[in-house]
Amino acid sequence: MVLELASNMGRVPEAPDLAESPLSIRGLTVTYGQKPAVFSVDMTVEPGKMTAIIGPNGAGKSTTLKAALGIVPHVSGQVQVFGKPIDTQRARIAYVPQRASVDWDFPTRVIDVVLMGVYRELGLLGRLRGRHKAKAMDCLNRVGMREFAERQIGQLSGGQQQRVFLARALAQDADLYLLDEPFAGVDAATEKAIISVLKSLRAEGKTVVVVHHDLATVTDYFENVFLINTRKVAEGPVTQAFTAETLQTAYGGRLATAQVDQLAQAVG
């Protein structure tokens, strides 16, 4: 165990051909206290594709994303975005956090939340101008929330809140979109709206990475998957990496065998 740990930690980033990957992670380890939540994970996101991060509860799906972005500290590991250190590429990354991570009674309107997406562009003293507001309205329109612009955010349903978060990410004009459980607890209409926006992003050549919990929709929504259970289990195109064996490894006893077979059939 100790040896394995040492060899994993000492691993040098390899594969220069992956340098242009929108998000490449090498040897990422995150611990909460002494217990590793994510252990020595490598991940290479393919450009222009939609990738799902999948795994059981507590497998480190969200943690991987948060640690890569520096939201939670990591013990070891390197992260590169478009082949460069992440801090030089922040403007190209749009992150959509989990809905439950904020207080929805915060005094702010829908349009104000979307405008947070242009704060970076504005800098500390730049004035909000008409074109920023027009852009924010356009982003709200894309997620079907235009008529809610003036509402206080507390008045929205869960699905509407999620769409507002997505609109804020759109306002950033990023190249890499990272979404943490965007489909958790949302209504069918919202799920449809979100997936169609994500597909349109892909059509524009953007890269989308989604922490996803619903195994049934993986093959419909995504081209690539990344299976994780503290360690990386599998990575690659859905047809190769999303199989009965990889799911069994990732979920262990937590997924009923019948469920796995059913999914495997769906995969084909």
Partner: protein, 401 residues
């Protein structure tokens, strides 16, 4: 007398205090809002109590060096230093131990304040000349306020406001969604540190007027007051500055009307008065508005239930329901339904059936989501849609006379 006080005609000192207090009130209200939105309001209490050892040590040091121990700049520097140490302890405890922030606040606040009181007692027993006045930092003392003191307060307040103008966006972003802020490359811990630095500056500057025990009120109450009136963070900031400034001005002016009225505590009471007004009378978020909303809702429920009972010829026992039906002219004083009452009751029953259909039908999902037992179906469906539903219900039911 009160009029003279409010128009600043009570002499030089009173005017100086009123102007200084107003500036302090504005900057405290504005600064405190960010703390309140970040849900760390009580941290300011720990910070302010942690100033006391610094004040005392600075006094001892200056006296030992042969200077005037009461030099305000020196005392404020000392207080800022020990507040900074207190803040550092607080952060360290929260980050590196299992103590939650509230427990850490309690620990830092009491230990620093206790140490400060010990030092204060020591200073008094030492019998160093001119030691009188240090207790004034506990609850503020404006009696001997000098022009220089007012300048320090004004300068400190202005500097804080300028910094806030610069930092308002990162601070709001971190307060609302720290994870998103971090993903954008904003250092959350640095923004928090700057926010605390601003709070420390306001606290230190406000020691002379309101004192370290009550400064927390000036930071928090205006923000809470402002929150009642608006749903936009930038307006909360502006209104908090306004109400903080107003409370401080009124408090300072009123305390000048009689000898020995303490300025700081009266400012706090004024601030509370504005808060109480907002608590009760603010539209939407105020208590009165909430009560009215609840009563209106309750009446709608009763009226609806009463109509459905009428339609199904069930007896109505609830007095409120009967009274509401009578007042609306739906039943006669003896409890028998009127013509209008029967028509409305039939409509209510039919609407229930329509809703049943809507809620069972997948294609009407969006409309069905709005069902709450009270909503008029006309508000979510078009005439044609309702006609279509009526066709599905079939012949008019027996109550439709």
């Amino acid at each position: 007398m009160v009029y003279e006080a409010l128009t600043l005609q009570l002499g030089y000192n009173a005017t100086l205090v009123a102007i200084g207090a107003t500036l302090l009130g504005i900057s405290a209200g504005v600064t405190g809002t960010f703390l309140f939105l970040r849900k760390r309001a009580l941290v300011s209490d720990a910070v302010s109590h942690a100033t006391l050892p610094g004040v005392c040590l600075a006094f001892l040091l200056m006296a030992a060096l042969g200077g005037d121990g009461r030099d305000l700049i020196g005392l404020l520097l000392g207080s800022a230093l020990s507040a900074g140490i207190g803040l550092w302890c607080l952060n360290w405890l929260t980050r590196n131990t299992r103590l939650a922030e509230d427990a850490a606040i309690g620990a830092v606040l009491s230990v620093f304040f206790g140490f400060g009181v010990v030092l204060l007692t020591v200073i008094q027993t030492l019998g160093i000349g001119k030691q009188a006045g240090l207790e004034g930092f506990l609850l503020g003392s404006t009696a001997g306020m000098l022009w220089e003191d007012a300048v320090i307060i004004a300068g400190g307040g202005m500097a804080t406001l300028m910094l806030i103008l610069l930092l308002r966006r990162p601070m709001i972003l971190v307060a609302f969604d720290a994870e998103y802020a971090a993903a954008q490359g904003i250092s959350v811990s640095r923004v928090d540190m700057m926010m605390m630095g601003l709070v420390m500056a306001v606290t230190v500057v406000g020691l002379k007027i309101v004192g370290l025990i009550l400064i927390v009120a000036l930071l928090i109450i205006p923000a809470v007051t402002a929150r009642f009136w608006t749903e936009r963070s930038e307006y909360v900031v502006l209104l908090a500055g306004l109400s903080g400034g107003l409370a401080a001005y009124l408090g300072a002016a009123l305390s000048a009307t009689a000898p020995n009225l303490p300025t700081g505590p009266i400012i706090v009471l004024m601030s509370f008065a504005l808060f109480a007004l907002s608590l009760f009378f603010a539209p939407n978020r105020g208590v009165l508005a909430a009560v009215m909303r609840h009563i209106r809702f309750q009446r709608r429920v009763h009226l609806r239930q009463g109509l459905l009972a009428l339609a199904q010829s069930q007896p109505i026992y609830e007095k409120l329901t009967l009274r509401l039906l009578r007042r609306a002219g739906f039943v006669r004083p003896d409890g028998v339904a009127t013509e209008a009452g029967r028509a409305r009751a039939a409509k209510a029953l039919r609407d229930e059936k329509r809703w049943e259909i809507v809620r069972a039908d997948q294609t009407h999902e969006a409309a069905a989501a709005l069902y709450d037992g009270l909503r008029e179906i006309e508000t979510v469906m078009t005439k044609d849609q309702i006609a279509e539903i009526d066709r599905r219900i079939g012949a008019p039911s027996e109550v439709l006379a």
